[in-house]
Amino acid sequence: MSLPDLHSSIRVCQNIPVQAIAATTTVTGESHPVAEKQYIHLRDCYNAYLVVSCGDIASAIQVKLQHCDDISGARPTWIDVSGATDVILASEDNSLHIYQINLRGREDGPYYRASLYVGGGAGASTVGATFLAAWPKDNLLGGDLAMTAIDATW
């Protein structure tokens, strides 16, 4: 079996650019200026992974996944995905967290974004979030949903 290159079967989408999030602040994928890149349509994929990279964590970070069925309006309604939450502890400086999103048979979405809430009391936390969406269905059928642009090959 000839396995494909990763970049021909996956899309990489920045959801929350790396930033210092102040205490008692929530940052979501849509609140940043590059709005069109902050959420991702995932219905065509089998699996997605939300990858949260942490640096210094001053207070615990609550991670949530939110979904939306229509982002065409001025104020789309984002809803927490039931059960899709986690807490990254303040002791977990310089850690990587990987959340798998099983897309088979889901009825929510098809747009998803991350929500990060930094708790209060001890300053800012530095963190960023990226979606990896794997195995676009059409790709298996010879389609061309492969869409990760490689900036360089070394």
Binding site: Q14, Y49, I98, G128
Partner: protein
């Protein structure tokens, strides 16, 4: 053909934790042992970057962890207008000797650069033969 889940075929490594890289400063990423894998990808998440003076990413390789040399030609600039973007870099592990690698990030001279970098090593040769290189622990499945 049923393709496996990504995490059962890939190793994720945090190379550069999310941080603010001071103007002109260099951050050496963590060691990635890529032995047994076919491809490695660096996913670099950039926040606000230095407003002046380009930053840079480069690859270093070594036969053992802790001793590295620059890989010829393996550099990529971080432009001053790369704010809030992602850089994806593919490393052909059959074209490089390694097997230890690290990513080195240098901030632009005109201010801080917010960045993180993770490595994804995929297609362990042994896994395709039924080996046990599957190594990514998923925190939770939603």
């Amino acid at each position: 053909m049923a393709l496996p889940d990504l995490h059962s075929q890939a190793k994720f490594t945090q190379c550069v934790p999310a941080q603010s890289i001071a103007a002109g400063a260099t951050v050496n990423g963590a060691d990635v042992n890529a032995i047994g894998y076919r491809w490695m990808y660096f996913v670099v998440n950039l926040g606000a970057v230095a407003a002046t003076g380009a930053g840079a990413l480069k690859l270093q390789a070594g036969s053992v962890s802790g001793t590295y040399a620059d890989v010829a030609g393996a550099t990529l600039a971080i432009a001053t207008d790369d704010d809030n973007t992602t850089k994806v870099i593919a490393v052909d592990l059959e074209a490089n000797t390694g097997p230890h690698y690290r990513l080195v990030a240098t901030g632009g001279s005109g201010g801080a650069t917010l960045a993180s970098a993770d490595a994804i090593c995929i297609w362990s040769k042994d896994t395709t033969a039924g080996g046990a290189y599957a190594v990514t622990a998923v925190d939770v499945t939603w």
